[in-house]
Symmetry: C2
DNA sequence: AGGTACGAAATCGTATACGATCACTATCAC
DNA sequence: GTGATAGTGATCGTATACGATTTCGTACCT
């Protein structure tokens, strides 16, 4: 449940190309390669014990997902933390998560609700211990539970891409606003209640969007008042 | 305005890889390669006068966009017209177009409205001459005008991807429901009125979504009653 | 006759090699 | 001393080559 992997074109497991893709992606998502890190084909190829061709392919795939930027005849670097990009990503995520939640809502059974609630409780505890990394992962777990039976895999894929994009800049703390995080937990609870009571799709979508866009607003407010 | 090209990672123009990407994509979008067509690396490479490596890269990119499917050690084929896929794509498009419209609305000036109206008028004429291909292209033009100043390029990119995906199966006529197309034109006009009068974002988004999801519904209804 | 097993052709996946392009530095002219 | 310029090293982009895998046709067996 913790894996944020998953992509539509699951691309031939076992191939060197796939291996390189997973390896580099993992290093980016877990923060070994931080934004701005220069990805040199030859070095990575040597590291992984493969030739440069599959590595190149992996890098281009990561580029398509927005995790790295690529410049002709210069090379690839881990995608940056440009605030504008952050805004774009969060805004898009707000929309696709909202849609995914609304579409999934009718298919969420009480057992799943209970599991989601348990995850949310863990998040609450994280707040006391101030553990942003774990908090972020649990936040994804929470939504993963809701999206388990999402009827539209395309939308789900867009959600995952957004998560990966954000993960690449998780290491920098600028995203984490403690006060905001506390609200987040409450919004989760409200969302669960709406789903339980079978609220209409429109209402659920609105609530799910708010949850993400409020985080964005909090960040923007913080960015403007240093 | 007619070009539906544009992708986020604009990828080094002039490279053989980019050249191959554009060429194959064009053949798919314009219907030279129809769904199910087998894309053989060697053949394409010979056609384009390049080696297989850049062609392979191009194909993988197209795979990431959903235009082709790829199977390990077997090869690539132009993505099919599976009704389920169609549903997924239209549903997703409904959502991202809705968002793009709502975000763009406040930035659309009267001149742009006028241009959009002119395009819509052309579409009306297309209905009389029964020209589905032109109609579809004009439909994209119409929305392109609205999205000219879309403040979120990520969302705009998702819209373009959806369009490309649909274009790959345009040649098959199963999508075109004449009665539905007529409604479409009216909905365009309504949408323009909402934008002109400065309706709130929620209302505009709803109208923009309806426009796409109603087309989907019409298709589904037709598919169920043969 | 039908089905299975084998073999050849086609195609893919990756390694290696080499030319092209770019960044960086040291040198030279002014 | 400062600017431009040529040289050098590093890295990318692509071609070619070859082993691996699949597919398809054919022959053989039941």
């Amino acid at each position: 449940m913790t894996d944020t992997a998953t992509d539509l074109p699951a691309a031939t497991p076992g191939s060197k190309s796939e291996q390189a893709y997973q390896a580099v992606k993992a290093r980016i998502v877990e923060g070994t390669y931080t934004p701005g890190y220069r990805l040199v084909l030859g070095s990575i190829a040597k590291d992984l014990g493969v030739s440069v061709v599959p590595v190149r392919e992996a890098i281009r795939r990561l580029e398509a997902e927005g995790l790295v930027t690529f410049e002709r005849n210069v090379g690839a670097t881990v995608a940056g933390i440009d605030p504008t990009e952050y805004l774009y990503t969060m805004q898009t995520l707000s929309i696709v998560e909202g849609a995914a939640t609304a579409l999934s809502a009718p298919l969420i059974d009480p057992a799943a609700i209970a599991r989601a609630r348990a995850v949310n409780q863990e998040m609450r505890e994280c707040l006391d211990h101030f553990d942003p990394v774990r908090f972020t992962r649990l936040n994804q777990d929470f939504h993963s539970v809701l999206f388990e039976h999402c009827p539209n895999p395309h939308i789900l894929d867009l959600v995952h891409r957004g998560w990966n994009r954000l993960a690449s800049l998780r290491s920098s703390t600028f995203r984490f606003v403690p006060g905001r995080a506390r609200d987040s937990v409450e919004e989760h609870e409200n969302l669960l209640k709406l789903i339980e009571t079978g609220a209409d799709a429109e209402q659920i979508e609105k609530a799910a969007r708010l949850h993400r866009s409020a985080t964005l607003d909090a960040y923007l407010a913080q960015a403007n008042n240093p």
